[in-house]
C-alpha cells in the first residue's frame, strides 16, 4: 500500500506532463466550425459583377467555398492553388467576397485572375455570420447535397490541399458511390 502511495505523485506528474506536452501543440486560434454536417445557410444574394443567386445555383457536386477579400494578403498565398484547381477542373470553387467593396473586388480579380464560378457579394458580412466566418481566408468543403463537411482556416496551400482536402473529398465521393 505504501509503495502505491509513493507512486501517486509520480503518476500525477507524468499525467500532467503529458497533458502540458500535448497542449504545446494545440493551436488555440483554430476553432471548430459549428456548421460541420449542417446544410449551407439559406441565401438570396448578389454576386460580384453578376446577378442575384440562391442555394439552387450552387454546384450540384462537391465544391469549395472560399472566403476572400481584396484587402486580404494571405489570400494571395492560396490564390495559385485555387487557380490551379479551377483550371484543372477537378472541383468547382465558389467565392465569398467577405466584407469588401464590389469595385475593389472586381479590380482584385482582374489583377490576380478569377478562379471562382461566382463570388457571393457579402459587403456587410451578414452571410459570413451565418457561415460562422471569423476572417478571410477560410475554405469550406461542401458536398453535392449542399452540406458543409469540412472547414479550413488560413491559406489553402498545396500541402493543406493534399493532406486535409484530398482525403476528405475522397471520403465524400466514396460515400456517394456506396449510397447509389
Amino acid at each position: 500500500m505504501n509503495r502505491v502511495k509513493f507512486f501517486i505523485p509520480v503518476i500525477g506528474f507524468v499525467a500532467l506532463a503529458i497533458m502540458f506536452w500535448r497542449g504545446l501543440y494545440l493551436d488555440p486560434k483554430v476553432l471548430p466550425s459549428m456548421l460541420i454536417d449542417k446544410p449551407m445557410p439559406e441565401f438570396q444574394i448578389a454576386t460580384v459583377a453578376g446577378g442575384e443567386i440562391s442555394n439552387a445555383d450552387l454546384p450540384k457536386e462537391v465544391f469549395l467555398l472560399n472566403v476572400w477579400g481584396s484587402y486580404c494578403l494571405p489570400c494571395l498565398i492560396e490564390h495559385p492553388t485555387l487557380t490551379r484547381l479551377s483550371e484543372e477542373g477537378d472541383i468547382p470553387v465558389v467565392g465569398v467576397n467577405y466584407r469588401d467593396r464590389e469595385d475593389l473586388a472586381i479590380d482584385w480579380l482582374e489583377e490576380n485572375g478569377n478562379p471562382f464560378v461566382f463570388s457571393i457579394l457579402d459587403e456587410d458580412g451578414r452571410f459570413g455570420i451565418d457561415l460562422g466566418v471569423y476572417g478571410a481566408p477560410e475554405t469550406y468543403l461542401v458536398d453535392a447535397d449542399g452540406v458543409i463537411r469540412y472547414r479550413h482556416v488560413s491559406p489553402l496551400t498545396e500541402v493543406v490541399w493534399k493532406e486535409n482536402f484530398l482525403p476528405a473529398i475522397a471520403e465524400i465521393r466514396s460515400e456517394a458511390e456506396s449510397s447509389l
Binding site: 476553432l31 459549428m34 459570413g128 455570420i129 476572417g135
Partner: protein
Amino acid sequence: MKLIRRLHKAKLSTCLLLLALTIFSAITVPEVVAQVDTFKFETDEQEARFRTLSNELRCPMCQNTSLTGSTGGVAQDLRREIHRMILEGMSNAEIEQFMFERYGDFIFYRPRLTTNTLLLWFGPLIFLLIGAFLGFGIWRRAKQVNIADVELDPEQQQRLKDLLGNKQ
C-alpha cells in the same frame, strides 16, 4: 553582523514590494472601450442589454477580447446583429442561441453548462476537494503523533541548552 542585518532589511523590503505588486496586479483595470458605434435604442433597458451581451460575448477573431473591446471586422458585424436582434424584440437567450449556432462555445465568456463544459465548470471544485482531503489527512496524522515518543530525555535537554547557550 551588520551585513546580515542589512540583508535582512533588503529581504523585507523585497517582500513588501512583491506583496504590493501582487495586490495591484490583482486589481484589474476596467476594459478600455474601443468601440465607437452609435447605436440607437428605444429604451435604456435595451441599451443595457446590448452592453451586457457585447461584454459577455467574445470576439471570435481575437483570442481574448469581448465584442465591446474589439475593433475586428467580425466583432463590428456581430455588434450590429445584436443591436438588430434587440430591436426586433429577441430575448437574450435567443440572441445567445443565434451566436452559439454559428460560433459555438468559444463565443461565450461564461460557457454554458453542457457535458462538454462540465470539467470546465466543476474541475476547480474537484481539485479543491482533493486538496481538502489531502490536507485533512496530513492534519489527522500530525495529531496522532505521540509527544512522549519524540520528547528529549534530560541528557539531550542539557545538551540542547549548552548548544543554545554557547550561541548566544
